[in-house]
């Protein structure tokens, strides 16, 4: 034990000004802090007028939130009004009783620094709710508590038969909302002595849990694990999944397999470390899905006694009430409890630097620790305050108990949402306006400045190593949520599209240790790309062109160049696409592939006499969709849709154009062969931002996706430096080329992460045109149908 003095922290750190729009904004944080400090109800309804989350566009039909808040202020000091309201519920077929429908979610000893783990467990004992202890073994002081569950996760860290017998129940963690299809991840920097002992792993090494449980690749495998755990311990078993495409079906499978409950963790949930490409693009929000979970379980006679615990950005009693009305028995909240302990959303959990001392690195001799007594007090008071607000809400709804609210979708009304979405939620749509209810995100063309947000640019630089971190690696982030369309404004159609995370019915695949094939063949196998990526056309000239040329060659890609850069280098030229006018009479230059604009196709006949692949360039607009059938009969290898080509007010979103053209090619035959088999589809432009866009566009039918502006941003492109005529002495061309190579490698990793999360092991064979992997979130049904994607949350 250290003898030096340890400072105990007993106050909250002041909130910094946020750099971006956050779900956990100052209002939500201040509210929970108030509960933690007072233990009393603060107000009932949040102001959602700025929030576009689906849940925030729901309101109880008989209640006007603003008036109700006013009324609450008048009567809040009379506790007799709520004393007969019963918030107690039973979980697991009545085997576990808790004082309110609140489960403090599954944060591990390791992700949290010990004191918060103990605080949550002790506060659960004090308040009668329940605390999931997460993966990675139990802190001895947590193990001494009663109201806890223990977790069985894919890494098996810190569990043995004795740990499994501790607490009220066992949670089999299949997935989590912030990263469905990705395993738990404790960075090595946080694996210090105490954590090493709890998890029985070496100090300083990343503790990475496999993406799937390698004994659970299917629902019957899950059943086997449930019964093995029951055979060994006799305890109730819950299954926790990330909320993805098939969540309602999985819930019914989980119930049929004999589990006692399911914890469904929606997107927007917190995490100690997750690749941002997963957090921001995989999984569905819980509010969209829980209604069908309830309905399918009921239809199949599996609902009674089985517990549905809903998680993912549950921030207060109001959210609790709405989610129960949508069909859950109980909510789970993790981030909110951390906010009640002082979390201020600096998103640095994965680094182990936490100003609130919640997720910092746990060392044997710290100089500063969070006060344990204060922490237990804050958490207990926050829970008491939360329960009190929940009681007032039940009173407003004329209900006497929490269980009466479960599944009361008839009490809710949807505002500012598509009818399709209201049907999915099982609520009626109300076209009147209601104060404090959030707006519907709309599709609009945004300016370049608004499109390339500072966060996005920062992430792109991180891929290449320009931002100083690990070059060539996926960007890692932690806590909170900023994703469009729930929090941020969607900027392109892709932002409404969420990708699947494999949960239970098939294993996700860990791209760091297992093979995911990204190689893509074009032109009947004549051209091989290492990735479904190519370098799109540049408007810039100068040495940047040479860099693109070389990277296309070194990384096994194509570069859609404006010109032939070096007609002697035959081998490297096989990675070039050049305009047909540049090609004429240079058929000895090694060029395999040329482009021709759609309005010059009469020249194809003549050009096709050369042994050359011809790709026809089209702009991304409705006219293109109409013109495609007329070029199919030509001797062409591919079609390129370029967002920047003839860009004007008629230009439409690349996602729509890609999907429509893919459909036409699939529906048309050339002689007896399907046109799509003969013709490749390439999609490019300065609106392709990142790996997730590439992944989604391939899923909508593109063989490969070209990046241009994203590549320039990732390498910090500065036109002054890159001009051929400028003084290049201070410009290291090799270093810039390396950066771009790293960008490609990092994007490859991110694409693999998305594929692996969805349980896809081959991009070209399994992702191409596989729209079943995607779901939309309250997207305009007209656009949704053009994409051929199902609406998220629908069965």
């Amino acid at each position: 034990m250290s003898t030096k003095s340890v400072q105990e922290v007993t106050t909250f750190v002041r909130m910094p000004k946020p750099k971006q729009k956050e779900f956990w904004d100052a209002r939500r944080i201040e509210h929970l802090r108030e509960l933690a400090l007072t233990g009393k109800a603060a107000y009932l309804w949040e102001d959602h007028s700025e929030s576009s989350r689906v849940l925030d566009r729901l309101a109880f039909s008989d209640i006007d939130p603003a008036k109700s808040n006013e009324n609450f202020k008048q009567i809040r000091n009379d506790p007799s009004l709520i004393e007969n309201i019963d918030t107690r519920i039973k979980l697991a077929y009545g085997r576990i009783g808790i004082s309110a429908p609140l489960y403090l979610g599954d944060m591990s000893f390791g992700a949290l620094s010990g004191i918060p783990n103990i605080a949550l467990a002790r506060a659960s004992d004090a308040t009668g709710v329940i605390n999931g202890t997460g993966e990675g073994g139990l802190h001895p002081d947590v193990a001494a508590c009663k109201q806890i569950t223990v977790q069985w996760a894919s890494g098996r860290f810190g569990v043995d038969i004795d740990v499994l017998k501790t607490g009220q129940g066992i949670v089999i963690k299949v997935g989590q909302g912030a990263k469905p299809g990705i395993g738990g991840h404790l960075p090595g920097s946080k694996v210090t002595g105490p954590i090493s002992r709890a998890r029985r792993i070496p100090v300083g090494k990343d503790a990475v849990s496999p993406a799937p449980h390698h004994d659970i690749y299917s629902i019957e495998d899950l059943g086997q694990r449930i019964w093995a755990l029951k055979e060994a311990t006799g305890k109730p078993v819950f299954v926790k999944i990330g909320c993805t495409n098939y969540a309602p079906y999985i819930a019914s499978g989980v119930a049929a397999m004999g589990a006692d409950g399911i914890i469904i963790d929606g997107s927007g949930a917190g995490t100690g470390a997750a690749p941002s490409v997963i957090r921001d693009h995989v999984g569905l929000p819980i509010d969209l899905v829980v209604s069908w979970v309830d309905r399918i379980l009921t239809q199949q006679n599996l609902r009674k006694g089985f517990s549905v615990i809903a998680a993912g950005a549950v921030s207060n009693a109001e959210d609790t009430a709405k989610i129960l009305a949508l069909g859950a028995d109980c909510v789970s909240t993790g981030t909110a409890t951390l906010v009640g302990l002082g979390c201020l959303m600096v998103h640095k959990c994965h680094i182990g630097f936490c100003p609130a001392l919640l997720t910092n690195k746990l060392v044997d001799d710290p100089t500063k620790v969070l006060s344990l007594d204060k922490s237990v007090e804050w958490t207990s008071q926050m829970i008491f305050g939360w329960i009190e607000e929940f009681k007032w809400i039940l009173r407003e709804l004329n209900l006497n108990s929490a269980s009466e609210l479960v599944g009361r979708r008839d009490l809710l009304r949807g505002y500012n949402m598509h009818e399709e979405t209201a049907n999915i939620l099982g609520v009626e749509l109300d076209h009147s306006s209601k104060s404090l209810v959030g707006p519907q995100p709309i599709q609009k063309q945004v300016s370049d400045d608004e499109y390339w947000t500072p966060i996005l640019q920062g992430e792109l630089r991180e891929l290449s190593g320009s931002a100083g971190r690990n070059p060539g690696e996926a960007v890692i982030t932690s806590m909170g949520t900023i994703s469009a369309p729930f929090v941020d404004q969607p900027r392109s159609v892709c932002d409404w599209i969420r990708s699947d995370g494999a949960q239970v019915t098939r294993p996700s695949i860990d791209p760091y240790r297992e093979e995911i094939e990204t190689s893509t063949y074009l032109a009947h196998g004549d051209i091989r790309l290492s990735n479904p990526i190519y370098l799109g056309r540049l408007t810039e000239e100068g040495s940047i062109e040479n860099i693109f040329y070389e990277v296309a060659a070194s990384m096994g890609l194509l570069f859609n160049s404006n010109k032939l850069l070096d007609d002697t280098n035959k081998s490297m030229n096989s990675s070039l696409l050049i305009p047909h006018s540049e090609f004429l009479n240079k058929d000895n230059s090694g060029i395999k592939c040329i482009t021709i604009d759609y309005n010059q196709i009469e020249q194809i006949e003549e050009l096709s006499k050369n042994d050359i692949h011809i790709m026809v360039r089209f702009p991304s607009n409705e006219k293109t969709i109409n013109l495609i059938p007329s070029v199919i009969e030509q001797k062409i290898t591919g079609i390129i849709i370029d967002w920047d080509f003839e860009n004007n007010q008629d230009t439409i979103d690349l996602a729509i154009c890609t999907s429509e053209v893919d459909n036409i090619l699939r529906n048309t035959r050339i002689n007896t062969t399907i046109a799509r088999n003969e013709i490749n589809l390439l999609v490019e432009g300065s609106r392709v931002r990142m790996a997730a866009d590439i992944f989604k566009l391939v899923g909508l039918g593109a063989d490969a996706v070209g990046i241009s502006k994203a590549a320039l941003l990732s390498i910090n492109y500065d036109p002054k430096k890159f001009r051929n005529d400028s003084n290049e002495s201070n410009f290291d061309q090799d270093k810039t080329r390396e950066k771009l190579e790293y960008t490609i490698l990092a994007m490859q990793k991110e694409i693999k992460l998305l594929a692996g999360a969805a349980g896809i092991s081959s991009i070209q064979n399994s992702l191409l045109g596989n729209r079943e992997l995607f779901r939309t979130v309250d997207l305009d049904p007209l656009i949704r149908k053009r994409l051929g994607i199902k609406a998220g949350g629908s069965p």
Binding site: G155, R156, P194, S218, E220, E231, Y249, H524, A553, E772
Partner: protein
């Protein structure tokens, strides 16, 4: 598009049995017993069977139809007549399914099977929206499908199969565990069939959206919307319309890893790549074991396709009369105790036909014999007169209850006879007890074990010794996949083979260090994520082989952090860990060549090497060139492995001899074999990382 159609996700148990040319037809009871044996893999939500008989008429097609009522059936008959088809015999009965409860079979005699198939498609389309009113679920002339809601034995009764004395050349069977789809409707049950293809599937197809595209745009638009069903239609399309061989269909569906194709030589590689490119969208992804029955009228084929990671269980068996395919070994052992049983390698397919027997075994040829084993029945080999439980007919729960009840009365040992797939044995037993198991224990044997010794006289199945801390397990036969997952202590000795992902996440901590010895060989992902302990693969059965097969599959020690692996004989470096595709590396080297960083001779030398790994590149390239190409290999989670190939030295011997002595004594192996093992060469794999943390930290008190 498939908008608003329910997608069913099925997981299940599967079974198939094919007669050999000379043997007699297989009675229905065999199919029922083979699948009923694993009824616990399925549910009351459905089961089914398909029989194939080759000498059926080549023009009498049997249409099997689920239909809501007689009126709708009359509509269907009218459509068939309108298209000029003559309707023959009709058999009608009521099945258990609550929707479409009428199950009707009728014979259509025609020479125009192409047209019949189109009309079937039309009828199915017409009666599928907005709700299903009827569904033709089988339409071939060599195949007959029986399916309904219920467990296999229920379905055999409700469909009249069991009372029909039906015999067949081939049976495939299924018990269903829907993740979800309407449990009340039989149209979602397996087998799925189109013309003369029928399939049963266990798993979940993640390429479903692409496969649906493949079919939709080829005119097959009318599917009930399950991932399993598309496979039946794809097989029929490829075989009947595209005239592909079953061999090519096996290749396409099983979708082998591109990175390993080069091992087959350039001609075969090109052939397979062309095939896969041409039928893009027909390849399957995600976990699956699929048994496919098909007949072209000349022969009857049984094809098993297995996903590239072998995520679903499958075993193949063969005896003098039949070829068997099943989810679990106990299914085959029950029917044929002495059958030769093996498990295919990941991503391979198994093809057999009635006339030709096994055509493609799913394993590299000479590993077959060594992977099979007779059921070991050493019932009288030692004193087991006391504490015997006859497991015959007992459920897992009953058997475990009996075991615990005996142990709670004081004895330290229990002997289980006739074990047939019962699960969770040896889970949570008192310390220092012993369990002897005769037969085939089911999945999850010895999970969480903390001090029980377990001896299996036979083969064990999946997921043995998950998160075991203490105790010892000896297995006299083989085990299947995922043995010793997160094994943290104790010993596991296996005389035979282990399947996929053996000893993944095995780890050591302080004094607790697991030791595992595999007597023969292992498949893919051996020691993946390994973080401690000692693992040996000995290859005893190929000790005297002149050209020994590599004893482990691909992806050995991927993500390994700590510990030690010894594999007898040479392991191709390409089978160890995960590397970028060879083409990507060669491509980069080619770029360096054009930049003049490496010369053409060196480039050609490097790119023609059989394995281009980091150590090899480092030894050949200048620092600049190496640092440049290295980025293709880099990942912040990858750990460099130290790989040696050599004879055992004195420190190896000091470490290994005590365990090897124990191993040979447990399995009664001769000294001669032991001496050969000690003098062999081994591939020795360990993590290069030897930083401070490879030691266990000192225990200090957590500061609060």
């Amino acid at each position: 598009m498939t908008d608003n159609k329910l997608v069913s996700k099925d997981d299940c148990g599967v079974f198939a049995v094919l007669k050999k040319k000379h043997s007699s037809k297989i009675p229905n009871q065999i199919a029922v017993d083979g699948i009923e044996c694993v009824r616990f893999r399925g549910s009351k939500f459905g089961a089914g069977f398909a029989s194939f008989n080759i000498e059926n008429s080549n023009k009498d097609f049997l249409l099997s139809i689920f239909v809501e009522n007689e009126n709708t059936f009359d509509e269907i008959k009218t459509i068939l007549s309108d298209h000029g088809f003559t309707i023959g015999n009709i058999k009608s009965q009521t099945i258990a399914a609550s929707e479409l409860s009428l199950d009707i079979s009728l014979i259509i005699s025609t020479d125009n099977s192409e047209k019949l198939s189109q009309v079937v498609n039309e009828i199915n389309y017409k009666f599928s929206t907005p709700n299903y009113r009827a569904r033709i679920y089988s339409s071939g002339n060599y195949v007959n499908v029986y399916k309904d809601i219920g467990y296999p034995s229920d379905v055999a009764s409700s469909t009249g199969l069991i009372t029909s004395d039906t015999v067949a050349d081939l049976w495939i069977a299924h018990t269903r565990q829907p993740t979800n789809s309407p449990g009340s409707s039989a149209i979602w049950c397996h087998p799925f069939s189109n013309v003369n293809a029928a399939i049963v599937h266990n798993g979940d197809i993640s390429s479903f959206g692409s496969n649906i595209n493949f079919l939709n745009y080829r005119g097959v638009t009318n599917l009930v919307g399950t991932d399993s069903e598309v496979v039946a239609f794809i097989v029929d399309y490829l075989a009947r319309i595209e005239n592909l061989s079953m061999n090519d269909i096996g290749l396409i569906l099983s979708n082998p890893y591109d990175r390993f194709l080069y091992r087959l030589g350039s001609d075969k590689t090109k052939y397979i790549r062309d095939l896969l490119y041409r039928y893009r969208g027909a390849e399957l992804d995600g976990p699956f074991t699929i048994f496919i029955g098909y007949s072209d009228g000349n022969d009857v084929y049984l094809l098993a396709v297995i996903d590239r990671s072998k995520f679903r269980p499958v075993v193949i068996g063969e005896d003098d009369d039949c070829i068997y395919m099943a989810s679990e070994e106990c299914q085959i052992r029950m029917l044929s105790p002495k059958a030769n049983i093996w498990t295919p390698q990941p991503g391979r397919f198994v093809l057999a036909s009635m006339n030709q027997g096994i055509i493609e075994s799913g394993r590299d040829s000479d590993t077959i014999d060594s992977i099979s084993s007779d059921l070991i029945q050493i019932e009288n080999s030692h004193d087991i007169s006391q504490n015997i439980i006859d497991s015959n007919g007992l459920s897992s729960y009953e058997l475990n209850t009996n075991i615990k009840s005996i142990l709670s009365d004081g004895p330290k040992q229990v002997n289980l006879m006739n074990v047939r797939g019962q699960r969770y044995l040896g889970v949570n037993l008192p310390k220092d007890t012993e369990l002897n198991i005769y037969g085939t224990p089911g999945n999850c044997l010895a999970n969480f074990n903390k001090g029980t010794n377990i001896n299996v006289y036979g083969s064990a199945e999946d997921n043995v010794a998950d998160t075991m801390y203490e105790g010892k397990i000896t297995i006299h036969g083989n085990t299947r996949d995922v043995i010793g997952y997160a094994l943290q202590g104790g010993k596991i000795f296996i005389r035979g083979n282990v399947g996929n992902r053996a000893f993944i996440l095995m780890r050591e901590y302080e004094e607790s260090r697991p030791v595992v010895i595999v007597g023969n060989r292992a498949d893919d992902y051996f020691g993946e994520y390994m973080a401690g302990g000692l693992a040996l693969v000995l290859g005893i059965d190929s000790l005297d082989s002149a050209e020994p097969e590599q004893l482990v599959g691909n992806f050995l020690a991927t993500g390994m952090l700590r510990g030690l692996i010894y594999v007898r004989g040479k392991v191709n470096a390409d089978s160890i860990g995960l590397k970028p595709p060879k083409e990507d590396i060669i491509n980069y080297l080619s770029y360096l060549n054009y930049k003049g960083v490496i010369d053409t001779d060196l480039f050609e030398q490097l790119s023609s090497a059989s394995d281009i790994n980091l150590n090899f590149l480092k030894s050949k390239l200048s620092d600049d060139a190496f640092n440049s190409v290295k980025k293709l290999f880099s990942s912040k989670y990858s750990v460099n492995l130290d790989i040696e190939y050599r004879k055992l030295d004195s420190s190896d011997l000091e470490l290994l001899i005590p365990y090897l002595n124990e191993f040979v004594s447990d399995f009664d192996i001769s000294d001669d074999v032991l001496n050969k093992l000690l003098s062999s060469e081994y591939t020795i794999v360990r993590s290069i990382d030897k930083s401070k943390d490879s030691k266990t930290p000192k225990v200090t008190i957590v500061e609060e």
